[in-house]
């Protein structure tokens, strides 16, 4: 092949750009637009992606009073009351109409039953109204694909940490394989439930408020450290710290800030350990943190220290993509749709349990 000179390449690109601009819009858009619906926990989001570009990503959060968690029925009721508004917002912000959408993606699972059904019902209805194919997406894979898109990490060890999930995942031969996970509750669940015990606000999220309080903690309270090989356990730590909170706060042995600080240090160290173990197994030089708990800057800092020691790179996203959102479902849906997946309406049932490795990842080698 004859070697091209730089100005020759630039010239060809310029000609191509002019030709593209002169094409009518309909010919230019051989692009794929996917709309994604997410509502497996207390966030309801609708996002639109066009060939890797986030066109819109509005979201609402169901926030309960301090000391209370969110229950499935009430969460579903919240989602029902706002979902159509959020859907319209997504279309308006993207400047698109129904006919511009190529595929309707929604969260098939895992998550809370009632909210999942609410969102699936709307997704099915608009897919039929607009005559577009439907695609059921795994929520965890949504997080992973969004993380990959935003950070451009090539083949990272993924730490997926949220209120509902705690998994260490690596891609291998057409599956997102779970290398380590919690054997009981998610790390975010541990943090959220502790926040209820000390009755701090759930606005914008209990984890965020624990993080702010932890910055003011000065005393380290020793808590159980429960790494089990490749896995972790948090329910023991939760019972211990709930008990410690009652005892120590009433006798002023420590402040709530000290407890927040100690809890974070303990659970985050555990997560860094199991991530490092998975990296050692895979020979990986990249770490990607996804999920709501991934917003936590202290976790990112601690992971960063470990990565630096190993000469690895750390990737994380900001809270618009870490926290559950519609665009992540749209992005995973985009990958799946472009590689030929579609969900038949009769198969579009939601499921509360849906393992990350159940999905065949046909869009990667």
């Amino acid at each position: 092949m004859r070697r091209t000179f730089p100005h020759e390449e630039a010239f060809s690109k310029a000609i191509l750009a002019v030709v593209m601009v002169l094409q009518p819009a309909s010919v230019r858009s051989n692009m794929t637009v996917v709309i994604g619906f997410e509502g497996s926990a207390n966030k309801i989001g609708v996002g639109i992606i066009r060939d890797g570009e986030v066109l819109s990503n509005p979201r609402r959060t169901y926030i309960t009073p301090p000391g209370q968690g969110f229950l499935p029925g009430e969460t579903a009721k919240h989602h029902r009351s706002v979902i159509l508004t959020v859907l319209q917002e997504a279309l308006d912000e993207a400047g698109l109409k129904a006919e511009d959408i190529d595929c309707v993606a929604y969260t098939k699972g895992p998550g809370m039953g009632a909210p999942l059904v609410t969102v699936a019902i709307v997704a099915r209805t608009v897919a039929q109204l607009w005559g577009k194919p439907l695609l059921g997406v795994n929520h965890c894979i949504g997080h992973i694909e969004m993380g990959r898109l935003i950070t451009n990490a090539q083949n990272p060890t993924v730490l997926y940490v949220s209120g509902g999930n705690t998994q260490v995942i690596a891609y291998s031969e057409r599956r997102y394989r779970i290398f380590g996970e919690t054997i009981d509750i998610a790390v975010g669940n541990c943090l959220d439930r502790f926040a209820r015990v000390i009755k701090i606000s759930n606005d914008p999220s209990p984890g965020y408020n624990i993080e702010q309080m932890a910055k003011k903690g000065t005393k380290y309270i020793e808590l159980p450290y429960t790494v089990k090989g490749m896995d972790v356990s948090f329910s023991g730590i939760l019972s211990y710290i709930e008990d410690a909170a009652h005892k120590m706060l009433s006798t002023s042995q420590c402040t709530p800030e000290d407890l927040c600080f100690s809890l974070q240090e303990t659970v985050f160290a555990m997560l860094v350990e199991i991530t490092e173990r998975a990296m050692a197994h895979c020979g990986s030089q990249e770490v990607l943190i996804v999920g709501g708990v991934g917003c936590n800057l202290r976790l990112q800092e601690m992971m960063g220290v470990m990565c630096k020691e190993r000469g690895a790179r750390l990737f994380a996203t900001d809270e618009s993509f870490c926290i559950d959102n519609g665009a992540m479902i749209a992005q995973a849906g985009w990958e799946m749709f472009c590689s030929g997946h579609v969900t038949e309406l009769s198969d579009s049932w939601i499921t509360q349990r849906y393992r990350t490795d159940e999905v065949e990842v046909t869009w990667r080698d």
């Binding site: 579903a76 009721k77 029902r80 979902i83 159509l84 859907l87 319209q88 129904a98 006919e99 039953g113 009632a114 059904v117 609410t118 699936a120 019902i121 709307v122 099915r124 209805t125 608009v126 039929q128 109204l129 607009w130 005559g131 309406l345 009769s346 198969d347 579009s348 049932w349 939601i350």
Partner: protein
């Protein structure tokens, strides 16, 4: 409303209920029967929902039928469409189980109707 009769006679009460404030479907016919079958002693509940078109009734059916009942036992639910009417039939062992399922279904049905109103009419096939 459900009427309970000791002697196993058939009671039927028709109720008209406003379901949506928007134009399309204003009222829903509900027929609630309690019948004591010799063998089953199950409660039955029938619901008929008229839609403006056959297409919209079919869309509602496809949106509402895929998910299984959260509760494994003690309740069955069957959906069907004839013309532009969606009909639903429940059988349940206990009234409280029936109440939860019907109540959930009506919330979901409401949501489908609001979605049809806001984002319809369906595109031509």
């Amino acid at each position: 409303m459900l009427f309970f009769e000791n002697k196993g006679t058939f009671n039927q009460h028709m109720t008209k209920m406003p379901l949506s404030n928007r134009s399309s479907t204003k009222y829903v016919n509900m027929a609630a029967c309690v019948s004591e079958n010799d063998s089953d002693k199950k409660l039955e509940f029938f619901l008929k929902v008229p839609f403006p078109s056959e297409r919209e009734a079919a869309i509602a059916l496809q949106s509402l039928s895929p998910d299984p009942e959260p509760r494994k036992g003690g309740i069955t639910k069957n959906l069907d469409v004839t013309g532009h009417t969606l009909s639903v039939r429940w059988t349940a062992d206990e009234a409280r189980i029936l109440r939860v399922s019907v109540s959930s279904f009506l919330d979901h049905l409401s949501l489908v109707m609001e979605t049809l109103d806001a984002f319809g009419p369906p595109v031509s096939q």
